[in-house]
Amino acid sequence: MAHYAKVVDGKVTNVIVAEAEYFDTFVDDSPGEWIQTSYNTRGGKHYAPNSDTEDSGTPLRKNYAGIGMNYDGVGFYFDAPYSSWILNKTTYIWDPPIAYPNDGNSYQWDESITSWVATTD
């Protein structure tokens, strides 16, 4: 069961479940195009359904599309959470310019200083 995203000017406006042949007869006069997306693709990897375990499936367009996401012809991705973050061209997920500290503490991004700030868990 495939999913298709309607992309208008690089923005996803709709996501439906459909098979390829549906578009042989489906009449959509509105601008944009329908691009197939994969429900089980996240971060450029394909996962087994309902798990975080990568499987042998072929990832498609980096991420499963959602309304409001962007499409650049390669993959689907959200808007940047912070202007300083960088779109990872492998995962199509925004990476902070500084990696999240892996010291067991909780941190929150502070764009004003473009760095992680420790918080109380």
Binding site: V17, N50, A65, G66, M69, F78, S106
Partner: protein, 581 residues
Amino acid sequence: MAIVISGVNNNDKITAADGNIDLLSAVNYASPITVTDLTASNKISSKFIDVNTTIQLGVSGVATATTFVGNLTGNVNQTSNLLLQIAGSEKFRIASSGQLGIGGANYGTAGQVLTSGGSGSAATWSTINSDAINEGNTKAEVIDSGSDGRFIVETDGVQRIRVDSNGLGITSTTTAARNAGVGTAIGTIIFNSTDNKLQLYANDLNWRGFSPADPSISNISGTIYAGTASTLTLTGNNFMISNLQVRFLQNTRSVDVTVTVTPSSDTSASVTVPATVYNNIQANDVVSISVTNSDNVVSNTVTLTASGLPTGGNITTSGSYRIHSFLSSGTFVVPSGMTLNNVEYLIVAGGGGGGGSAQGHQGGGGGAGGLRTSVVGATSGANSSPESRVTFTAGSYNVTIGGGGIGRASGAGYGGTGTNSGLATPSGTITSNGGGGGGMGQNNGASRGGLNGGCGGGAASSDQSIPAAGSGTAGQGFLGGQPLNQGSGSGGSGGGAGGNGNDKGGSVGTGTGAVGGLGLSNSITGSAATYSVGGDCTDFDGVSNTGAANTGDGGDGGYTHTTPSGRSGGSGIVIVRYILS
């Protein structure tokens, strides 16, 4: 013994002394014996009386004016013709070989019959027609010309009865001729060619038919479908009470099927189109239908054009319902000429995705996809009454199946809102809204609240003020849940079509995550199934689920320590069902 002879004038006597003269021998009378009365005690006994050539009894001749008393026995035995004459004129004779002569040696010819001449004329020999009796233009006749042997009766020059090798035939008469005919006797039988019936002139002086009843079909309601059973109602006459044979004929497909039904009345019968018919015909085939009643008389033929069936989705049946389940977007096509009334539907949108988790705060569960249904007796979204059923005329109707909203990774933001599902109808598209995404768990910042949708997304945990849950759509679903406390770590679950998302407070532990709002059970397929369940907040043990495909369930919200990413919502579904007429 002494004989006394005595006499005086006119009184001469010979008498025996004892009263009996025992023997007179060789008496020769000189003149006729005249006796006043000849008597004997028993009889005159003699071997014969020889009276020479003439016997005259009585004054005028032989046996005239005389009555013979007792039986005249013995034979009239003549060696030549025996004649009967009147005044010397022969009137009748029996000839030596037994021939009968009339007025002499008139024996007629072989085959002739003796015909009375009435009181004034002699009988005559006459010849009769051997195979016909005629009088005027009325006759009875036997005819045998080879193998065409028959007996006919005609009156007024018209054949009325015919008996031949086929049986008894009664010549047809029109109603007009019947009514213009001679006075009719009760019990008269005719064949009325106007009414095509054998009729009897009954005691009530009316003509009553008793010919086999001719069935006729005046109308057939219902539709023959290529590919599925249906019921036809036949209206007409003389279906009688049992064993009505209904014949379906479609020459192109070599379909010739007869089924026997019991009519509901003399004028109505229902028949289920047999599988051997509907499985072997195609849309637009013309099917001829006739009936044969229990009098073994065949009706007229009525034709029906087979209809195609609605298409689209996965087609199943349950009871009388024909069901189209659309698991992916498609087209519901109602063929030309068809109208579907009272169509029931279930429209479930895609469920919202769960929010991601960060900094020890649960993401909110995704709201379930909005649910709308017109199934009679079912509950529509937000525990509302079912909507009105829909009439579909012929046409193609888009069916859109919304996808589930994307579950968001840790710190990435709201779960994605599910997308709408819709069913186009002649009066517009019926849309169920996608479930709202769950909020993102984090200490502070945006994206913590649940998103609005068919069912609202659950609000995430945070250290700041409790974020708002997403609202559901009226008639589709309930709002999401909220955390009960700031900084507890627990988030609210997604709203469901049958209940709010659950609020949660306190710290997160095993089995303590907020359970998603209730879904709704719906039996449109013939089996109960639950749709549009809100997404859970992932438990501390990390049990985290995406919404199942084609349920509209919301995706579970994430939890930092184990599965920080929220799960995607389940895709929606559209199901329609109807009963073919």
